[in-house]
């Protein structure tokens, strides 16, 4: 395996996060190259959501550092990261339920507008072309959308910020298989736009199918890492999920 010589857009090293006395992440390191899709998979409670929250600045981290676009951060300010092109689609979607789809999308471009850009209309057209369903429903309240449409809106809203790196937390959670397939198709299409993606998923098989590189997180530590194709065939992944490794027979 040869490491690309590119400078990673995101380089997390030795990240530790604790909730009170409980350590949720233990010396986690990972890299994302520009235009690459990297996935972090692992069973429930492994610390996947915590990892994204720490990188985004939603949670403070105890030790370690995050290097983003060449700059080192030891304390992260969410607004600053948004301004620098990092966006997170959280597990709970966090939509503005009592606002229209169009307004939700517009607010996705809030930081760009603050920074003086006036190109949200073009971005909006692009998002609508990716998710035609959102265009059809642009006047509908976000709270009345179906589960799949909500996820599309959450992703669409994040794209309105024209991110350099998009972090997705369990985009398939609670969605029916058909919609999961559509979401993953969009994720793999985004690569063509040059957006780097850090994808956190419980749905290991789908995630490894679309990604270039994968990490397996287990109880706060990276247990396995490798090219996604190789991980997909690694029996240890199944063990990590279903506890087959612990059986005595």
């Amino acid at each position: 395996m040869t490491e690309p010589i590119l400078v990673p857009i995101l380089d997390v090293s030795d990240l530790c996060v604790s909730y009170g006395k409980v350590e949720a992440l233990h010396h986690v390191s990972l890299k994302v190259q520009p235009g690459q899709i990297v996935t972090v998979i692992g069973p429930n409670g492994a610390g996947k959501t915590t990892l994204l929250a720490a990188i985004m600045g939603v949670l403070p981290f105890g030790s370690g550092e995050v290097r983003y676009q060449g700059e080192v951060y030891r304390h992260i300010d969410i607004e600053q990261m948004v301004a620098r092109g990092m966006t997170l689609v959280p597990e709970k979607r966090e939509l503005f339920g009592e606002m229209s789809v169009a307004d939700n999308l517009l607010l996705g471009a809030f930081m760009r507008r603050r920074l003086g850009f006036r190109d949200e209309q073009q971005t909006l057209d692009k998002v609508y072309s990716i998710f035609p369903r959102l265009k059809e429903r642009h006047q509908q309240m976000a709270g009345t959308l179906s589960g799949g449409e909500r996820q599309m809106l959450a992703v669409g809203r994040a794209l309105m910020a024209q991110p350099k790196i998009l972090m997705l937390d369990e985009p398939s959670l609670g969605l029916a298989p058909l919609i999961v397939r559509e979401i993953f198709r969009v994720i793999s299409d985004l690569r063509a736009l040059g957006v780097a993606i850090l994808l956190v998923e419980q749905n290991a098989r789908a995630a490894l199918q679309v990604s270039d590189y994968g990490y397996v997180l287990e109880t706060g530590e990276i247990a396995l890492a490798g090219e996604s194709d190789a991980l997909a065939d690694d029996p240890k992944v199944v063990e990590a999920y279903l506890g087959l490794g612990g059986r005595k027979d």
């Binding site: 409980v22 409670g45 490794g245």
Partner: protein, 600 residues
């Protein structure tokens, strides 16, 4: 190192100084101490209400007013109807004031305590103003001029004529109130009040009637305020509406918060600090500003903001660092206690829990779709499934936190769907919480004793007098026994919040066991445990199973589940997708797909 300061001697010195005070203090200081005592009595009620119970009131001054006006009117009115003649003296005034206050508090409490969070304090602001304007506008209460000529008190023929006489009465009453409050907090009834801060869901799951507990402390706090008002009226021998306005009510709350709202002695410290500060500022500020007015409120406001920014627990915890915590007198006698009676254990194989076609709908979302499962005595059933599969919702349906939209839940053969969680808990179902809900500041022993709440019966009045020590000892002994059993024997006196999260989960299990259940519901008990701790937990659960307990377990740690469970139910999208023995479920293609995603 042992501290040189022990709580006993400190209290002794304090009491001696208190008794001797009037011998050498000037009149002015006695007056100040009288006011500190009166204010501390009101603040003490707020400690119970706000600091312990988590309910905020800005309206206590109005209750002080009720106590003061009741006695003022009864002892001065000249045209009382004949049947009220018996009440036309200070003692009648006290009784009447207490009765009226209790009734008003009961009414206001019933109206506002049902509302969560911030509505209660807003309500207290509103009726604080209402009662104030009422005092000032009722003609028979003297309007804004008030009532004068209130007689002094006589105790056993001795007339209390000046401040020095009242000093002893006020401080005696205050110390009695402190004693009663401390007794209450250190009891079964007190634990149920302290449990309010752990959230309604947790407290109700322990069998605590939270609505009643809130009402009790609300009325008690009002009665303390009323008593203070009665003393005030006879000390001043004159009342008008001014000291019962909203701003004074706010000051009472400030006293409690600045002193340390969670501590009985915090009321005294807070009352002293604010009273002395007020005295000093009322002299200083008008000189400084060259104008007259209540400028001290500027300082109080700023002080309060600083305290809430920097030291939300007030001054007392800071002072208390110098005084070691006194252990309960019962702590040394736990071994001699007679065990509590136990529930009849259903014989092995008895069907304990049966969920039939349970449906739970939130708006358009079907969180549980015709779920079925059953747990028998002496069996461990594991409920697994990916995030968001609806396991927690099902837990809530079974335990009565949320009623099912349709379908049935049977526990011990009785239909329990729609019953509240308190009633279901009483029938013998105990649970732990996914997000640990312990009272972080309470010891492990007290937290676990809360679980045994339903096995005691003595209420507030008995607890205030500590006439329930026998029962309390048995409850604590039971709690200690459960702690030993789960391996927490070393931590009985540690604050629950100081333990690592994994251990806190074990405390939750001990608390559930203290209720003597026949069915145990565990929500992710192994999360955050180390390998050896997990093994110990598994051993414990196996032992409980052997004793005939039924266990329903939600858990993500598959190794743990597969080794332990007798049967496994797998959920996805609110539905049961598989059920069977652990090794069957593990190789079930539907389960693998649910966890790892579809194979295309």
């Amino acid at each position: 190192m042992r501290s040189l300061l022990a709580p006993g001697p400190i209290l002794g010195v304090f009491l001696v100084l208190l008794v001797l005070g009037p011998q050498f203090l000037p009149e002015f200081h006695i007056t100040l101490l009288n006011y500190i005592g009166l204010y501390a009595l009101v603040a003490l009620g707020l400690v119970l209400l706000t600091g312990v119970g988590g309910l905020t009131s800005f309206g206590q001054a109005a209750f002080v007013g009720l106590g003061a006006y009741a006695t003022a009117w009864l002892t001065t009115a000249t045209n009382l109807p004949a049947w009220m003649g018996l009440l036309a003296n200070p003692w009648g005034g006290l009784v009447a004031g207490m009765v009226v206050t209790a009734l008003v508090a009961l009414l206001l409490g019933l109206l506002t305590l049902r509302l969560s969070g911030h509505y209660l304090p807003l309500g207290t602001i509103a009726w604080g103003i209402s009662l104030y304007f009422l005092f000032g506008n009722l003609e028979f209460l003297g309007g804004h001029t008030g009532i004068s000529g209130i007689p002094s008190l006589s105790l056993a023929g001795f007339e209390l004529r000046d401040g020095r006489h009242y000093y002893y009465l006020i401080w005696l009453v205050l110390l009695m109130a402190v004693w009663l409050t401390r007794n209450l907090l250190d009891s079964r009834a007190g634990r149920s009040i302290r449990a309010l801060k752990g959230g309604v869901v947790m407290a109700e799951a322990m069998g605590v009637d939270t609505g009643r507990a809130k009402l009790v402390i609300f009325v008690l706090a009002a009665l303390f305020a009323c008593l203070s008002g009665w003393l005030y009226a006879h000390l001043q021998r004159f009342v008008n509406p001014t000291p019962f306005g909203l701003h004074i009510g706010i000051e009472y709350l400030f006293m409690a918060v600045i002193g340390g709202a969670a501590h009985v002695w915090g009321a005294l410290v807070g009352a002293a600090v604010i009273t002395i500060l007020k005295q000093w500022l009322q002299d200083l500020l008008p000189q400084l500003f060259g104008a007259t007015g209540n400028f001290e409120v500027i300082a109080f406001g700023l002080l309060m903001i600083v305290v809430l920014h920097r030291a939300r627990d007030g001054l007392w915890p800071w002072l208390a660092r110098w005084v070691p915590e006194q252990k309960s007198a019962l702590a040394g006698r736990l071994r001699e206690a007679e065990p509590l009676p136990r529930r009849a254990v259903p014989s092995g194989g008895t069907r304990l829990l049966e969920v039939k076609d349970a449906v739970k709908q939130f708006g358009g979302l079907l969180a549980n779709d015709r779920m079925n499962l059953a747990v028998s005595a002496g069996e461990i059933l594991a409920l697994i499934g990916p995030n968001g599969a609806g396991k927690s919702t099902l837990f809530n349906l079974i335990t009565g936190v949320d009623p099912p939209t349709s379908g049935e839940v049977h526990f011990l053969g009785e239909a329990v769907a729609g019953l509240n969680s308190r009633t279901i808990a009483r029938m013998g179902m105990s649970r732990t919480f996914q997000h640990v809900r312990l009272l972080a500041g309470m010891t492990v022993l007290e937290n676990v004793a809360l679980g045994a709440h339903m096995r005691g019966r003595h209420g507030v009045p008995v607890a205030m007098l500590h006439l329930e020590r026998g029962e309390e000892l048995r409850l604590l002994a039971e709690a200690a026994r459960q702690c030993e059993r789960v391996g927490l024997g070393m931590h009985l006196d540690d604050a629950a919040g100081s333990l690592p999260l994994g251990k806190q989960r074990i405390v939750e299990i001990a608390r559930a066991l203290a209720a003597d259940p026949c069915l145990l519901l565990l929500d992710e008990p192994a999360a955050g445990l180390r390998f050896l701790e997990k093994q110990a937990l598994a051993e414990l659960l196996k032992q409980l199973r052997a004793e005939g307990m039924g266990v329903l377990l939600v858990e993500h740690d598959m190794e743990f589940v597969m080794d332990l469970a007798d049967r496994v139910v797998v959920m996805e999208f609110g539905k049961k997708i598989a059920e069977g023995l652990p090794h069957e479920v593990q190789i079930d293609p539907a389960v693998i797909e649910a966890y790892l995603g579809g194979v295309e």
